[in-house]
Symmetry: C2
Subunit: 443 residues, 2 copies
């Protein structure tokens, strides 16, 4: 097998486009396989052949069965610098090393395709400036929800609309765990273990279960949606490791399912200032909402825009082949631009909206607490909410012996007011414990 | 209100892009309103101002309250020819007149954005050749499923993948009617009437209910997905006007819902030739399939690709604002190309696959018939199926007095074999009527 598409006779199919592949793991292997298998098709779509000039890896011995020896190299920098390399595809992962390599590529006038959400979320400004300066493309569709087209639709299809909200299930590991908890009633630890056994969770699952992976994607989605630079550090992030079987059951009884959502929205502060908020947290979603039926490790991104209304994009949000699909789509785009001229829309941060403090956002809350089972408790608890300006929508009480469980769903309230309410509840004699505070979206 | 975005100070925002708007109906009004309201944003995203140079309508008096008099004109051709018009937006509808105008625009070197599915499905070759010759853009995201990004994802995001199948609910009127039949048990005529009352169906609903509108979209989707020119005339088309309340009920009992699907697929003929099939017909979809839960007048397009796996795009498939969203996204794209250079990917028909005869496609079937209620009938009927090479998956019999109803679901069979089976069944003494033959997809 040759990792160059066959030379195709015919109009417009002539120029070669040299590609350096950095990394040959799960995604890199699929990218290489696809170029080998479907090179003719790609050549027709591009108007020129994709020719892989080299594959940079840490240990060539581990890859010599899959990649011709003459393509393997440990010297990624030298590969990037080669005159016959036009486009650099980065599928290594990590931050510091790929950052250095991508900057080197951009500074050398090579377009870059990357699947690296952590890098893009942390260093978008630096990367975008380097791409702009060199007049080359920086593509990263694969960084959010793998094969599901999200970056492209936000950058292009919705470029004439005003996006108001983006809510996404953008992490397959956590969705698998929460979906399994919802379906079986089992607890978090059991289902995390199962996710590990089935390969849905890594040996160290921290980045997934604590929401860091989703937070990187939230930063990217918010940046694109609101034409504002939003970095990983700007995203409020809360993972799923504290979600209990009780939470899931209580949500179920109230008609909700719990999902780890990346929520990005444009909000208007009391003084009229428009701000951007991006946050990741376990969220109650009504079972009738399209996001509620996203099961297993699937991903979905829900977008609400002024003219378009509500849109949803659904599919495989991880895995070698789905991620490779997005990388290859970007590669074809960058290669077309090399052959025919033109550039993809670059970073758009003109709106430059301030990032809202987490306390400024407004949503609804599901508060689960233990209270003493005596006359007047409900009145005391209700007063705490109303004193802080939080109004209640539903109250459910479950009794057992001399204690009672009180589950409250609020109307829309400010996060800061809710936080103050929870502090006050904890200090209230009638409340023995605040079991959980979960946010509620999608109504 | 000025229908030009305010001049924006800042880097790269300088050049004006002149736009001619042809048509000022439901969609045109929203396009104009959005340019007026959000011109500054568009200017930033484009790197230049959108300036509407004129709005061509049939009767200016009808529009003078919404459009400044100096912009209104009845002379669309003169407007297109103006030197300061760079991009022509066509939202008139119909075929012959907009075809003439769009060709005029392309031949004059102006990029074109159109929402006209019927025109694109009927004349894509002519339009694409004119755009290629002039080196300008021809965009038509709004032609399929309005605001739902489908054309863009197929043209760009999936450009490195191999699409195997596209199945879509791409007509809101018929989905509204079928969904209402499914929910209420009412018959077709009742729900068509309700759709008309609620504004979901037009006074003459033929194009919608007979599947012509969906067939235009199927032609466009198949062309994009398989890099092959597929025209409206290549699409097998069967509407929903013959779907009965009995069909819906029988489907429901078997765990399906009936949807009008546009099915586009790549099939391999017995001799190994790859072919393309595009068809529109009422289809049984398992209730667990993502398309089954697409209710009311919503649209959804389901794509299966080799690397990406299964994707679904969901949203508003019609209406003034959602259609305008897609038109505006295209307009921003065409304007960016005017300002910065470059062209959108043009028509890609290199694969040039033959169109399969309808008899060559394979699917599963749900056949509902009346039979005599006597010994041996099931054996006779089964023999007809097996003689024609169609194997049965399930058989359900319902008895009443001296007749019986037999509902058969087949395994995958060739359309030609199934058609021959149905002919033979009609000639069988034991069969008094073949009530319906419905295809089944999504398993």
């Amino acid at each position: 097998m040759s990792f160059a598409s066959t030379l195709v006779q015919g109009k417009g199919v002539g120029s070669d486009v040299g590609v350096a592949l950095l990394g040959h793991g799960t995604v890199g292997k699929q990218v290489l396989r696809f170029i080998g298998d479907n090179g003719d098709d790609l050549a027709h779509r591009i108007g020129g052949r994709i020719v892989v000039k080299g594959v940079a890896v840490g240990n060539p011995d581990k890859h010599k069965d899959d990649v011709p020896a003459e393509l393997l190299t440990t010297d990624a920098e030298a590969l990037i610098e080669r005159d016959d390399v036009d486009i650099v595809v980065e599928v290594i992962g990590g931050i510091d090393y790929p950052r250095k390599l991508i900057l080197k590529a951009l500074n050398a006038g090579k377009s870059v395709v990357t699947a690296n959400k952590a890098l893009v979320a942390a260093h978008s400004q630096e990367l975008a400036e380097a791409a702009d300066k060199a007049g080359v493309d920086l593509y990263f569709e694969a960084a959010v929800a793998a094969a599901i087209p999200v970056v492209g639709p936000l950058r292009r299809s919705l470029a004439g609309d005003q996006v108001e909200q983006v809510m996404g299930i953008v992490n397959g590991t956590t969705n698998f765990i929460l979906d399994a908890m919802d379906t079986t009633g089992a607890d978090y630890d059991t289902m995390l273990k199962k996710a590990m056994e089935l390969g849905y969770a890594e040996a160290d699952p921290t980045a997934d279960v604590e929401g860091h992976d989703a937070a990187s994607k939230a930063a990217i989605l918010a940046s694109l949606a609101f034409h504002t630079r939003v970095s990983f550090d700007d995203v409020y992030c809360e993972g799923i490791s504290k979600v209990t079987a009780d939470d899931v059951e209580a949500a179920k009884q109230a008609g909700y399912t719990i999902k780890l959502l990346a929520c990005c929205e444009r909000i208007t502060a009391p003084d009229g200032t428009e701000k951007v908020s991006a946050r990741v947290h376990p969220t109650l979603v009504p079972r009738s909402h399209p996001l509620a039926s996203v099961s297993k490790s699937f991903n979905a991104v829900f977008v609400e825009a002024e003219a378009a209304g509500r849109l949803m994009f659904y599919g495989n949000g991880a895995g070698g082949a789905p991620t490779a699909s997005a990388v290859l789509g970007d590669l074809v785009g960058a290669a077309r631009n090399k052959v025919h001229g033109g550039r993809a829309p670059g970073e758009s941060t003109y709106a430059n909206l301030p990032i809202a403090d987490f306390g400024e956002i407004s949503t609804r809350y599901h508060v689960d607490m233990e209270v003493h089972d005596r006359v007047g408790v409900l009145a005391e608890v209700s007063k705490v909410f109303s004193d802080k300006g939080v109004s209640l929508r539903t109250v459910r009480q479950e009794e057992s012996d001399d204690s009672a469980r009180l589950i409250v769903v609020t109307h829309t309230a400010r996060e800061a007011d809710l936080a103050a309410t929870v502090e006050a509840l904890k200090n209230l004699e009638a409340v023995t414990a605040v079991n959980s505070v979960l946010r509620l979206e999608g109504e």
